[in-house]
């Protein structure tokens, strides 16, 4: 367990080496004007401000270098990256894409090795095991994490629980359904689960499969969906439909978040971004909001956290490669990195222990006011997995990105929940399509 006390800012800066100090060891700066392109799907205004600060400090430390930030999106990045690779017009640094994107691109020889950047940041500064998911061969790293996330935390409105006579935080699916049933009244719905044809529905459903004690693939990546766990996850998803707003059939991350933050639902399912959004958009409910692990099918079934392991990678063919590596390392310099993390406290969690333990990081008012929630999310994220690495026993799945983009899970949810198709047909179709995608 991590603690909130730690070294001073000076020690943190010294410990990390500050990329601007450490990175010049890579190579001297070029005298020619250099333009670097930085892509990220995390583009909330506060995050953009933090990025601008990081860009400014890097440009000041490296005269003649210009860094341009370009936004991508969670749904749109596969197309943009594919087009960039195909055209040879790749960005220099890409951040915040899920770890399975890194695996996929590395498997197709589309990324630069990342070891030198990790060396510049300082391998010892990372939380233990933080880079394991990026270690594509012993000692060989394809990228690194810029943060952690706990995407399927359950957010609860304590005031609504009290009004409805719900005394305990739901631990199982039955208890969650009961709580939602009792809290759903008037304009307030029970939950904002997505039932759309998008990546959020797919990722939440994967969480439910694990919450039912199953997995999508076996550890050696054989399709593993024709079983009770998968069927129970579908049944649970369907049983929650009556507690979700009618428009949940078109919900993505933003809609689901807004539904909870605005007070339209009694529970939420999201990362720590809830904290910042409640504080700024609906402070009236801030004191009533608590964070918990999402329930599972039974108390005996362990929680499973979806951590997409927001990454940093350098596409192969990126121009000015040494300056690019220096910039990638610069993103972890304490002053800028903490600003970036504070832009959405609890949403992107630090991967560097000195940063997490620093007084500066912990000094953020939202983190201070929600210390138990942030600690819980940090613990959950550090034990988290995703479709690219379902459990510690699983081999990395380089097809995970394509599987999510195929909407095979989201369509299964829609067919079973909205179209009332027989579960056996839906499950066997999922199995067949997964087999095809894994063979492709």
């Amino acid at each position: 367990m991590v603690t909130s006390t730690g070294p001073s800012r000076r020690i943190v800066l010294a410990g990390l080496g500050g990329a601007a100090l450490a990175a010049p060891a890579l190579t001297p700066a070029s005298a020619q004007p250099v333009v670097l392109r930085w892509w990220s799907p995390q583009t909330a205004p506060a995050q953009r401000e933090a990025y601008n600060f990081q860009i400014r400090t890097f440009q000041e430390a490296n005269p003649g270098v210009t860094v341009n930030f370009e936004a991508t999106s969670d749904e749109g990045y596969p197309a943009q990256m594919a087009a960039a690779f195909a055209s040879g017009q790749v960005p220099n640094v890409v951040t915040h894409l899920p770890s399975f994107a890194v695996s996929q691109y590395w498997a197709n020889n589309l990324l630069e090795p990342f070891n030198s950047v990790i060396d510049a940041i300082g391998p010892a500064n990372f939380f233990e095991g933080a880079n394991r998911i990026y270690e594509v061969a012993p000692g060989q790293f394809a990228g690194t994490g810029i943060g952690g996330s706990a995407a399927n935390m359950m957010w609860l409105r304590q005031d609504l629980m009290r009004e409805a006579g719900v005394t305990e935080v739901p631990r199982t699916w039955d208890q969650l359904r009961d709580a939602c049933r009792r809290m759903q009244r008037g304009p307030v719905f029970g939950a904002p689960l997505p039932y759309a044809r998008n990546s959020m529905t797919s990722l939440i459903f994967i969480c439910f499969v694990h919450g039912a004690g199953g997995s999508i693939f076996t550890p050696d990546l054989q399709v593993n969906v024709e079983n009770d766990a998968f069927r129970n996850a579908l049944e649970f998803y369907k049983s929650m439909r009556e507690f979700c707003p009618p428009g949940a059939t078109n919900y993505s991350w933003g809609d689901s978040l807004t539904a909870f933050v605005s007070g339209a639902t009694a529970t939420g399912i999201y990362t720590g971004r809830v904290l910042a959004n409640v504080a700024t958009q609906n402070p009236r409910i801030a004191s009533s909001v608590t964070c918990h692990m999402y329930p599972t099918i039974s108390a005996a079934t362990p929680h499973w956290t979806f951590n997409d392991f927001p990454s940093v990678m350098i596409p192969k063919g990126a121009s000015n490669i040494e300056m690019t590596r220096r910039f990638a390392a610069h993103l972890f310099r304490a002053d800028g990195y903490i600003r970036q993390l504070h832009a959405a406290p609890g949403h992107v969690l630090p991967v560097l222990r000195p940063i997490y333990e620093s007084a500066e990081y912990q000094a953020n008012p939202l983190i201070q006011a929600n210390r138990p929630a942030v600690q819980l999310m940090s613990q959950a994220a550090s034990a988290g997995h995703n479709l690219g690495w379902e459990t510690t026993r699983h081999r990395p799945n380089v097809r995970a990105g394509q599987i999510v983009a195929s909407h095979v899970f989201a369509e299964a949810v829609q067919r079973f929940v909205s179209n009332n198709e027989p579960i056996a047909t839906v499950v066997s179709d999922v199995a067949r399509r997964l087999e095809q995608l894994m063979r492709a």
Partner: protein, 299 residues
């Protein structure tokens, strides 16, 4: 063959003068067309553009794919219904704007607004209008007692298809208005006066005078809009993403999914080539119509 040196020089000059056109035509039409057909004969991993020859394998898979046929059917449903609405709305509004009315110029300008506004902006606005919790459409329906609970406009069928058809009609009917209004202004008044003298009422004048006069322009407008609607992507993708399941997935959305979601550029190209063949029918109709109009005009 020209034997006279002067003729040869003229022939050479002709070739030189037409060369830029041929080069541009080759670069923007022939090359992409041949590339698409060529790519469709391979399985190609999009990011690397490397792949293997499969011949007509992609086409055979498509013919056996329910998703392809369902997407093709969706494309036709979307095209036919949104186009019909565009034409009906476009003619109605054009007739209205052709009347003497207060602020006619302002109205003519404002009516073009949907056509000129960015699709992304338009879709964002419509998504808010359709929103189940905060949308004005559900709000009005609820307070007026039309609905007991919010309607799911974009996430269930047939609502999703109806919604995209309505938004598509709203977005593109101004094009019909522009074309029809221009033609209306050139219909001779004598035709209406003669019809009136023959005892024709407003409805009869519309069907016996206005509509026949609009026929030529409508043929062109319908064919152009049919081609454009057939390959519509952004509006549908942003509104429903093709869902629920694949109920509003049209062929362009399927091309996008195959090319960039599943990284199979070969299969995506095969779908695109199939789309092109269907659109070829529209083009042939268009060219025949244009040719007939020219011949009639020449007489």
């Amino acid at each position: 063959m020209a034997t006279n040196p002067l003729d040869r020089r003229y022939a050479l000059l002709g070739a030189v003068l037409i060369a830029p056109t041929i080069l541009i035509f080759s670069a923007v039409i022939i090359y992409p067309l041949v590339s698409a057909i060529y790519l469709s004969l391979f399985t190609i991993f999009t990011p690397t553009l490397r792949g293997q020859w499969v011949g007509l394998g992609n086409y055979a898979e498509l013919m056996a794919s329910n998703e392809f046929w369902r997407s093709l059917a969706n494309t036709f449903i979307w095209t036919v219904f949104t186009l019909t609405l565009q034409i009906v709305l476009g003619i109605a509004v054009a007739l209205m704007l052709h009347q003497n009315m207060v602020f006619r110029s302002l109205a003519r300008s404002l009516i073009l607004f949907p056509y000129f506004v960015s699709t992304v902006v338009a879709v964002l606005v419509w998504r808010w209008l359709f929103n189940d919790l905060y949308g004005i459409l559900n709000y009005l329906a609820l307070i007026s007692g039309l609905l007991q609970r919010p309607l799911d406009w974009l996430g269930s069928m047939p609502n999703a298809m109806i919604s995209i058809v309505l938004v598509g009609a709203w977005k593109y009917f101004p094009f019909v208005v522009i074309a029809v209004l221009a033609r209306l202004q050139s219909i001779p008044d004598q035709l209406y006066e003669a019809a009136k003298m023959d005892g024709a009422g407003p409805i009869a004048r519309f069907f016996d005078v206005t509509l026949p006069q609009l026929k030529e322009v409508l043929v062109v407008v319908i064919l152009l809009r049919a081609i454009w609607d057939f390959k519509e992507f952004d509006l549908i993708y942003l509104l429903t993403g093709g869902g629920p399941v694949i109920s509003t997935q049209t062929l362009p959305l399927m091309v996008y999914k195959e090319a960039f979601g599943l990284n199979d550029m070969g299969r995506a190209s095969a779908i695109a080539v199939s789309m092109m063949l269907v659109m070829l029918v529209f083009m042939v109709l268009y060219l025949r119509s244009a040719g007939r109009s020219e011949r009639e005009g020449a007489r």
